[in-house]
Amino acid sequence: MQAIIFSWEYPPRTVGHLADYVRELATQLVKNKVKIHVVTYHDFLTGEYEELEGVKTYRVTNPVRTHIGVLTWVLTLNQEVERAASNIYYKSNAQVNLIDAHDWHFISAAVTLKKAFGLPFLYSVESLEEHRSHGANSPFNMAIKSIEWLGMYEAEKLIVKSEWMRDEVYRLYKVPLEKVKVIPPKSVNWIKNILETYQNVAGGKAF
């Protein structure tokens, strides 16, 4: 099995919890014989490409340097993520089985690749705009929520990290419960459950 992981943070660039979680995930998946490509943001700390403990990491940078906020920054970065992911896809002779997108940032890229290649994707929810912005509903928050909605609608499966988050995802976005897998980090069967979900998604068709 071969998977591409999208995450906007990855060590050494650590913004919150997500970076270390995604590295641990990628490393464990490699140990379980899944070929892993991580596509993330390049902040000039590292080169464009590195391989660490079998995890191949590709870092892209934003072609538009000036931005008015995190939203426009993310939206123009998506095309570079698509470029990197497409290169991986073509280089593997279309042997990539799924994309695992962490949080909302690169949902647009995941959806486009799904439509173009019939490549299914998983949406791994770390946090939601509703909680990050304490219920604010400005056009800015609405835009991010609409991207979260798109991700949940188009994803084959969602992985959330707690039962509370499963209920929130259901409450806010009305995602059918059978589409949502609760897999708490550091739980006993964590990687086993992740692997099972990956296999599940990879076997399913995107359309």
Partner: protein, 402 residues
Amino acid sequence: MARELTVMMLTWEFPPRIIGGISPHVYHLSKSLARNCVKVYVVTCDFPGAAQHEVVDGVEVFRIDSYKNPSPDFATWVYLMNINMQKEAAALAHCINGGVDVFHAHDWLVANAGIGLKHVFRKPLLATMHSTEIGRRNGIHFDYERMIHETEAWLTYEAWRVVCCSNYMVSHVRWAFGLPEDKLIMIPNGVDIEAYAKNSNDDLSDFRRRFALPEEKIVLFVGRLVYEKGAHVLVNAIPKVLEKVNAKFIIVGNGYMKEQLSNIVKNMGFAHKVMFTGFVDDETLKKLQRCADVSVVPSLFEPFGIVALEAIAAKSPIVVSDTGGLSEIVEHDVTGVKVYPENPDSLAWGITKVLLDEAYADKIKTNAYSKIQEKYDWNKIAQQTKAVYENILKEYSKSFWA
């Protein structure tokens, strides 16, 4: 027989959605390409009452959900809309079995979608730059403008070739984004002469009475009421024109300057001499252009100047500011009158010259009409564009993507 050349056009406007010049441009280009055996798919924003999918004059048109939540600002809306455009275009390209040969993006408004599709499908991207942020704003002053400017730069960087519609725009775009000379191609914009020739013998005197008294000459301005289109220059020329000629000024279009302009007119005491019509439908516009005794294009920045061609096709004499693409369309004293940009006195001089000398007006409009027939014909433009696609594909066939 070889499969026909297939192009996917990306544009944020396509009739009936008409905001600026891109909409009619893409419509006529696509239709004329279809007549020249190019299979064209247009992916564009939706519009109330317009079908999600339809075939228009041999062109497959797909309209996408253009993101209708409130947006923080225009540029952010553009990027959000591009998520949907790219997603739908990818699904469509997948359905036709990756059978798109070239993606053709019109302006930065579809930059994200065009660039993404290029890499995902590994097909060449052609960009037409209809305008630039640095030109529209007369410089880059804020981060917001710089972000758009850099998005335009990104699109021209990713494009295999960049098309501009005038020599002026070629050098402007080259300067603005530092592009190599051989990346730029000039293909003029066109005008649909047939559409203007239709019903051209109708009696318009009743129609004309709705806008002006029979003894008043009609001076027509058509354009968005924004700074770069220079409607304020025309408004400031009104007193000087009225000293010599009895005229009615008809200003067609909307924009953020409308209220300011109509206040200036009121304060001058000429409210009865000026009519702001707002946006008018295509048929009314064509009739107005046919009724005009002179059409005025006083732009400060004008990449091409399609409205000048339309006036010529409607057989109206034209007065234009000597700038940008307008300088190339008009030959002074031969096909029109050129005046100094941003100079109301010069503009008033040009308007009066045309209105007071009927023989002169007849001469320039006849000359101009025969010129547009040879140079700005959509069929010819489609053939030039098709040749660009073919050249790109020839180069592409030698690349490792092919």
